[in-house]
């Protein structure tokens, strides 16, 4: 619901009760005026985000981190990117929230309250990497339409919930189940109540994984509003759009789910590689599944100046969608030579891995430290932009920071 319409329909008394104080001189307030206290507050305050986060879009809200903000091993809320396709739902009541399982390939339609989910099924906690499919879009040439994410649309928080598999087993699914599709409470930007902003999903194989959660906690607390309170899907390692927020219904489909942003060119790349700028028909676009191998130098922040005899300790995270990262390297000579970084095992499958190295520079000058991860199948990050695609997805080119030795 539109804030203006919402507040416009409120009485003075109702506004006062939201503000917690009476509105003195309220009677002389112009009709339709929204008191400052009820207007949209600053997004950093509203969503508890760090001031260093970058707002890409305020309608709908889209906000990304910068590389150096993602230094924590477990991403706290204040550095977690926000990617919304529609308006954040208002007036959520967790006490009456329900999740309904339905669809052609479900044995029955069954509805659970939040309390049912928490008590009926075993709870699990995993650290899961969520990265926007369009992270890195800003670098594509020719440019691709959409939010121009740089490097910060990724995070790895700890998610607590129940396995989607356990719920689906309780409901019973038919042998012809192909895909699950989520439905959620966010509203379409056009205000059309019959339109869903986004309704995506994953194939059964992903839906039934241990780590695929219907989550109600992030980092040990209720999920923050912007991240899907009170209930969301978390499908780690896949484009984060598969991890629906504010989820109230999951359909078990007998075909590939066909909700908004599932079809056409959304979250799809050309099935066959194309030249930059080439037009690609929707039929020739294939759904993105696992995200590619990638890494980020989170310390130091780009722009460090150091002394000639000073070693530089670098660190960061690496991840590889469904796979694990097997090798992590850095280069200070634009890829002419590579040196190995230390690399930790993931806390659990689909969690990012931490790397570190101590870098020595031979002499004064301008340097770039480039980081390159290689996944368990031997595939590495490219130093240049990967295959161009019309919507600018999956840019996993090496991250780099600038360093000056003086």
């Amino acid at each position: 619901m539109d804030r203006r319409k919402f507040t416009g329909s409120l009485s003075l008394g109702a506004m006062a009760s939201i503000l917690g104080v009476p509105i003195v001189f309220g009677k002389s307030m112009p009709e339709g005026y929204v008191p400052l206290g009820l207007q949209d507050t600053d997004p950093f305050q509203r969503f508890n985000k760090d001031k260093g986060m970058v707002v890409l879009n305020d309608k709908p809200w889209n906000m990304e981190a910068q590389a150096h903000l993602l230094d924590d091993k477990i991403t706290p809320n204040k550095f977690m990117f926000i990617r919304n396709n529609g308006n954040i739902p208002e007036n959520i009541d967790a006490a009456t929230w329900t999740l309904t399982i339905d669809g052609e390939a479900a044995n029955q339609e069954k509805t659970y309250t939040l309390q049912d989910l928490k008590t009926k099924f075993e709870q699990h906690t995993y650290q899961l990497t969520l990265e926007c499919g369009g992270n890195g879009r800003s670098e594509f040439n020719p440019p691709a339409k959409g939010n121009q994410w740089t490097v910060g649309a990724v995070g790895c928080a700890q998610w607590t919930g129940v396995r989607l598999r356990d719920i689906l087993q309780d409901v019973g699914i038919k042998s012809n189940a192909v895909y699950i599709g989520y439905h959620a409470a966010d509203t379409h930007l056009s205000g059309d109540p019959n339109k869903e902003p986004i309704s995506r999903g994953v194939p059964m194989q992903k839906a039934l994984q241990d780590e695929t959660l219907v989550a109600f906690q992030m980092n040990g607390k209720d999920i923050p509003l912007a991240h899907g309170f009170p209930l969301r899907l978390v499908c780690g390692g896949w484009p984060a759009s598969a991890s629906g927020k504010w989820v109230n219904r999951i359909s078990v489909r007998n075909k590939v789910h066909d909700g908004p942003k599932m079809t056409g060119s959304s979250y799809r790349i050309p099935c066959e590689t194309v030249a930059p700028g080439e037009k690609v028909a929707d039929e020739a676009m294939c759904i993105i599944e696992s995200m590619p191998v990638k890494s980020l130098i989170t310390y130091p922040k780009t722009g460090a100046t150091i002394k000639t005899n000073q070693d530089l300790k670098i660190r960061g995270h690496a991840w590889a969608g469904e796979l694990q990262v097997s090798t992590m390297e850095y280069s200070i000579d634009f890829g002419s030579t590579w040196k190995t970084c230390s690399l930790e095992q993931p806390t659990n499958r689909l969690a990012w891995q931490h790397f570190g190295a101590t870098v020595a520079f031979p002499k004064k000058g301008y340097y770039e430290v480039w980081a390159r991860a290689t996944d368990s199948t031997g595939t590495s990050q490219p130093m240049v932009l990967p295959g161009w695609n019309p919507k600018g997805y999956l840019n996993n080119a090496c991250h780099r920071i600038a360093v000056k030795v003086s």
Partner: protein
């Protein structure tokens, strides 16, 4: 005509009158309610395509609605230029201006984006404004060749202690 008939006729007349009064009252009430909901009587205004401008009322309320500072429209961040207010009025109702200003496209690209919004996102028919909007966007938000990897820019240098 008997006394009784006269009385009946008078009663009929009063009944007809009161029904007519009631109908008139309902009609008046309906008109008043409509005027309350739509004070500009917008449904009765003729809309020719070229004039069709859907105002962004959040912006319209602002005293800075048309304010330009350093060549930039203050409320939206759009660059000043021919077609600016047509873009402001049509392209910031559903989504933020930021979704436009962070993108770079050719005229064909902007046109395709408008088509997509009309087909899937409930964007209205822009009529003659479409070409004004496309011309503005293609001029001020045109793609620049970036190559396969750009130099690092806007580096804020700082001293890193051990």
């Amino acid at each position: 005509m008997s006394k009784e008939d006269k009385f009946n006729e008078a009663a009929q007349q009063i009944r007809r009158l009161s029904v007519a009064m009631f109908a008139l009252f309902i009609a008046l009430a309906a008109i008043l309610i409509y005027v309350m909901a739509d004070p500009n009587l917008s449904a009765l205004q003729p809309t020719t395509e070229a004039d069709l401008v859907v105002r962004n009322d959040t912006l319209l309320d602002s005293p800075d609605y048309e304010k330009i500072e350093n060549g930039v429209h203050v409320l939206t961040g759009f660059v000043e230029g021919e077609g600016l207010m047509t873009v402001v009025n049509n392209c910031t109702n559903c989504h933020s201006a930021k979704l436009v200003t962070q993108n770079r496209m050719t005229a064909d690209g902007w046109r395709a984006t408008i088509d997509w919004m009309q087909e899937t996102q409930n964007l209205w028919d822009l009529g003659a404004n479409e070409e004004i909007i496309v011309a503005y966007l293609a001029k001020f938000y045109a793609p620049e060749a970036q190559g396969r990897r750009q130099n690092l820019t806007n580096i804020e240098w700082y001293e890193l202690k051990d």
